[in-house]
Symmetry: C2
Subunit: 151 residues, 2 copies
């Protein structure tokens, strides 16, 4: 619920601006989707979004997530299970990592720590550069057993 405490109206304006920059409007359906994602503790699957945002049509959710992704509002997160997951872009939240449960597939956010970030940014960036790779951002996931699944 950490993210739910964020400045909601500020997020709304930011989202509207991002959409307008891509010649898109912030429709009620899109607002609903963003609200659902903003209130979640981690990336959500489409079924989860449908369940949380009552009355949303499946195809509209898929279609709007594409629009929102192009506008940089949301980000697709792919894990090992069958469903794609979506979360708000880190511009709208904070940089974080993921705790991926290898048993139930659930994904929770984990705030990034400066120490890890620094080490990752430095050493890995250097190694990547050696391979002629221009890094845009990184992903760090911890795979294991979540609190609910662990005995």
């Amino acid at each position: 619920m950490a993210r739910a405490a964020r400045d909601v109206s500020g997020t709304r304006d930011a989202v509207a601006t991002m959409l307008h920059g891509h010649a898109q409007r912030l429709t009620p359906t899109r607002q609903r989707i963003v609200d659902v994602l903003a209130g979640a503790a981690g990336p959500l699957t489409i079924p989860e979004i449908l369940a949380a945002g009552r009355g949303l049509a499946q195809s509209s959710v898929y279609r709007n997530l594409v629009v929102l992704e192009e506008a940089g509002v949301v980000h697709r997160v792919v894990t090992t299970d069958d469903f794609a997951r979506y979360e708000l872009d880190e511009d709208l939240t904070e940089h974080h990592h993921h705790l991926v449960c290898s048993n139930c597939g659930r994904v929770e956010d984990l705030p990034a720590t400066p120490a890890v970030e620094k080490s990752v940014a430095a050493a890995v960036e250097q190694a990547a550069r050696r391979a002629g790779f221009r890094t845009q951002h990184h992903r760090l996931d911890l795979v294991g057993v979540c609190a609910q699944c662990g005995s």
Copy 2:
């Protein structure tokens, strides 16, 4: 090509042992798949495996990858593009990270550096434990533009 230099027969024995432990045989098809993966510079998609291992049937590749994954020989790697990718398990190679090209989807391996590993293992593990999460392993991907796509 780094992995291609590895001890191939040793890998073969290890794979056979892992399969036997799961009541499975190391058939020619499975050997072929493992060879293809062992010679790759990163995780491969099924189409890439099919192209590299001439004469393999698509369904056999899918089916055998499931068997190999259950035996712990290979690992499914999911990125953002449409296809699933597979690589040899880190028991058979070394711990490494991935360079994911956000343009073409290609994935290359990047050897892990002790400094990064240590930092990640320490700080993040601690944070995860706080959330009641028992970490099994981690994934670190760098997303950016690969050498071929970058101008």
